[in-house]
């Protein structure tokens, strides 16, 4: 038998039949952001939930204006305002149980405060007296993450660890539209889906990554569509509709807790203020656009619904405003006190036990501080 004859006898066996590993259809987001307020379904919204969301959104807006004012007075080093995004912030905190964990980015101070963390301790990073002010274990809130999207794999790891230990804990991780371009966003979503970790990813698409609009950030049909590539459901929601965001997040949390795996939620919203007090938004966007979003204000949407259903009268509005004012007054008073700084703290938490080198450096700073003290005491003025 020649080689040619052998080749003639060869019949290729087909590879195993190909099929999609996951049916993509149920993972696809809706064509339009999901809305409740202003639609027929709003009537079914729980009055108690509406009141809670409203009170928290009012507090949140007041927190933003107060923190911005404190920044202008030099009391904060910088403040990234979430005005216009309060619905997302508040809904994220309220969608979680106490045992769950929140992984915020630097703009998510409102969610952290709504979770129960002390408003002053929340601002420690932005005041600059330390990099984080609260004990993450008390309210199950990770430190505010400054490097974009890097907190997302932490949320996946924590949720995975909880599941390995048999705890029904869910992690909710927050990120912005710009953060979805980072590699850590991709890696976190991929790990979460492969591990079926109980995580919910909330992307607040507020239109801008500092100055760069979403069109320069992605060519995806929507950010929610990115979920499909990882094999997890993507949900698209109106980020200014607190009831809709809460419903979508609560559904995703329930699903994760029941072992259904992760969900990616894109909340479409708008950053009404500049990136931070140090930014000038007029350089990259038009007032018309801002005005259009002002007419779709998360606070007004809630107020309209509550008023229309007779769930909110003037007295109730006053009570909520007074509560927010009291929070702002307390924040003002405590933030106007100089933080107590001990430079020696710098050396105490680098390692469990300071190294010999750090002990030497600590002693050096101690000597410098003592000399400063002597100079001040010896100064006749």
């Amino acid at each position: 038998m020649t080689v040619m004859e052998q080749r003639g006898a060869y019949r290729p066996s087909p590879p195993p039949a190909w099929q999609p590993r996951t049916d993509p259809a149920p993972l696809l987001p809706d064509a339009e952001p999901y809305r409740v307020l202003g639609t027929d379904t709003a009537a079914k919204a729980d009055p108690e939930l509406l009141r809670r969301l409203y009170a928290q959104v009012v507090r949140g807006r007041r927190y933003n204006t107060q923190a911005t004012a404190l920044t202008k007075q030099g009391r904060l080093a910088v403040y990234p305002s979430s005005t216009g995004q309060e619905a997302c912030e508040v809904a994220a905190a309220l969608a979680l149980e106490e045992r769950d964990w929140l992984f915020p980015s630097y703009r998510d101070t409102l969610a952290v405060v709504a979770r129960g963390v002390d408003p002053v301790e929340t601002l420690t990073l932005l005041r600059g007296d330390w990099h984080n002010g609260y004990d993450p274990h008390t309210h199950h809130v990770a430190p505010l993450s400054t490097p974009l999207a890097t907190q997302l794999p932490h949320a996946v790891g924590l949720a995975h660890a909880a599941r390995l230990k048999g705890d029904d804990v869910v992690a909710l991780a927050m990120v912005g539209d710009g953060g979805t371009s980072e590699g850590d966003f991709h890696e976190a979503l991929n790990f979460a889906a492969v591990w079926q970790a109980p995580v919910v990813f909330l992307v607040q698409n507020n239109g801008f990554a500092i100055s760069v609009p979403l069109a320069k950030q992605t060519a995806a049909p929507s950010l929610a569509h990115k979920a499909v590539g990882y094999g997890m459901p993507g949900r698209l929601v109106d980020g200014n509709d607190a009831v809709a965001v809460h419903e979508v997040l609560a559904d995703a949390v329930r699903r994760a807790r029941a072992g259904g795996g992760p969900t990616l939620v894109e909340a479409v919203t708008y950053r009404m203020e500049a990136h931070t007090n140090a930014d000038d938004a007029t350089r990259y966007r038009e007032d018309d656009e801002v005005e259009a979003w002002r007419r779709h204000d998360p606070l007004q949407l809630l107020e309209r619904e509550l008023t229309a259903r007779g769930l909110l009268d003037e007295a109730a509005i006053d009570a909520v405003r007074q509560d927010a004012e009291a929070m702002a007054a307390d924040l003002r008073e405590r933030m106007n006190q100089d933080p107590r700084l001990d430079p020696m703290d710098l050396f105490d938490h680098v390692y469990a036990e300071p190294t010999a080198q750090l002990r030497e450096q600590r002693a050096l700073l101690g000597t410098e501080l003592a000399a400063e003290q002597d100079d001040q005491e010896g100064d006749p003025r």
């Binding site: 794999p153 932490h154 660890a161 850590d184 890696e187 976190a188 790990f191 190294t355």
Partner: protein
């Protein structure tokens, strides 16, 4: 008194045993990385762990180093003790942001409330004929990052002892495994592992009086061989194995240099901006009046790691170490 028959073991076997014993002792210890499960790692250092402890304790992760280390951070936040394997030195770079921005800083950021007991195992260094990206000495990057311990064993006993200590540490440890010593053998009993000095202590591997060779990891056998060869020249060299670059043991290093009056630092990492510069400066600052000659460095050349057919010219060898010793101004003594 009976003596236990001690069979030789390789460094790789001692590392495997360290993880196995740590996992058996503490259910919080989880091994994770690329190919660490079914395959047992590309160097087989995690061999048998998935079979013994299950895939939830020794996990094949997706191929993404930032994701692996980032997930380990979250796991440590929830009370686990992740032991992460980076497959090769140069493949650890995608995890740098997690390592530098979070792993090294979380304890400090949270004033000690959220320590991260993570061990990051990194096979490092050359001499195995690896193609590009498989032979880097990346220790200088890690050393320059406060908040990390940087540890590297050079003996079989240290491989076991230091890895157990690293896993038990409440601080993050970058554990650099000299991959060309993976198959080095020594008499070592897995059931009665030798006690070793704690992380942070250097050890005198060979006492001597003429000069001190200061080294670590893959360069220790080179220095031991050089010290033997130096006897023919009339030099009695002391060899110090650092074992831990962070914390750095100034005490042991300086005590040796004060005795001998001369020092050469030997490592594979590049010389410019490498660990040797820091070590030479520390010695000079502390032992200036005991020095008979400037502290010299024998290091890898300041170039990207060479292709395997040229690497022997790059790696510090016995002759280059002896040449440096010869330049320690011996004439002045005569």
């Amino acid at each position: 008194m009976t003596t236990v028959a001690v069979k030789p073991a390789t460094m790789a076997q001692a590392l495997t045993r360290a993880m196995r014993d740590a996992m058996a002792a503490d259910p919080a210890v989880h091994v994770m990385g690329e190919d660490v499960g079914t395959l047992g790692g590309v160097f087989r250092v995690t061999d048998g762990l998935a079979a013994e402890f299950g895939e939830d304790r020794c996990t094949d992760t997706p191929l993404a180093e930032a994701g692996i280390l980032g997930a380990a951070v979250g796991m440590a936040m929830y009370g686990l003790r992740p032991v992460v394997e980076m497959q090769f030195d140069a493949f650890a770079y995608p995890a740098f942001e997690q390592l530098i921005s979070h792993v090294s800083r979380m304890r400090n950021r949270t004033r000690g409330r959220m320590p991260l007991p993570i061990t990051v195992r990194v096979p490092y260094g050359g001499g195995i004929g690896g193609v590009e990206h498989h032979s880097d000495s990346s220790e200088a990057y890690y050393m320059a990052t406060p908040g990390l311990h940087v540890v590297t064993p050079a003996t079989v006993a240290d491989a076991y002892g230091l890895l157990r200590q690293a896993i038990a540490s409440d601080d993050p440890v970058v554990f650099l495994e000299p991959k060309r010593l993976y198959w080095s053998k020594d008499a070592w009993n897995a059931d009665h592992p030798t006690e070793v000095e704690p992380i942070g202590r250097a050890v005198v591997r060979r006492p001597g009086t003429s000069a001190t060779l200061i080294t670590y990891g893959p360069s220790l056998p080179v220095c031991m061989e050089a010290a033997e060869a130096a006897r023919a020249e009339g030099w009695d060299l002391e060899v110090v194995d650092l074992r831990s670059l962070v914390p750095f043991d100034d005490e042991t290093v300086c005590a040796s240099v004060r005795r001998t009056g001369r020092a050469v630092v030997v490592h594979e990492s590049t010389g410019f901006g490498g660990p040797g510069g820091e070590i030479a400066a520390r010695i000079t600052e502390r032992c200036f009046h005991h020095l008979e000659a400037p502290v010299l460095r024998v290091a890898g050349f300041d170039l990207p790691y060479p292709p395997p057919m040229l690497e022997r010219h790059h790696l510090p060898g016995v002759d280059r170490v002896l040449d440096a010793v010869a330049r320690l101004q011996w004439e002045a003594e005569n």
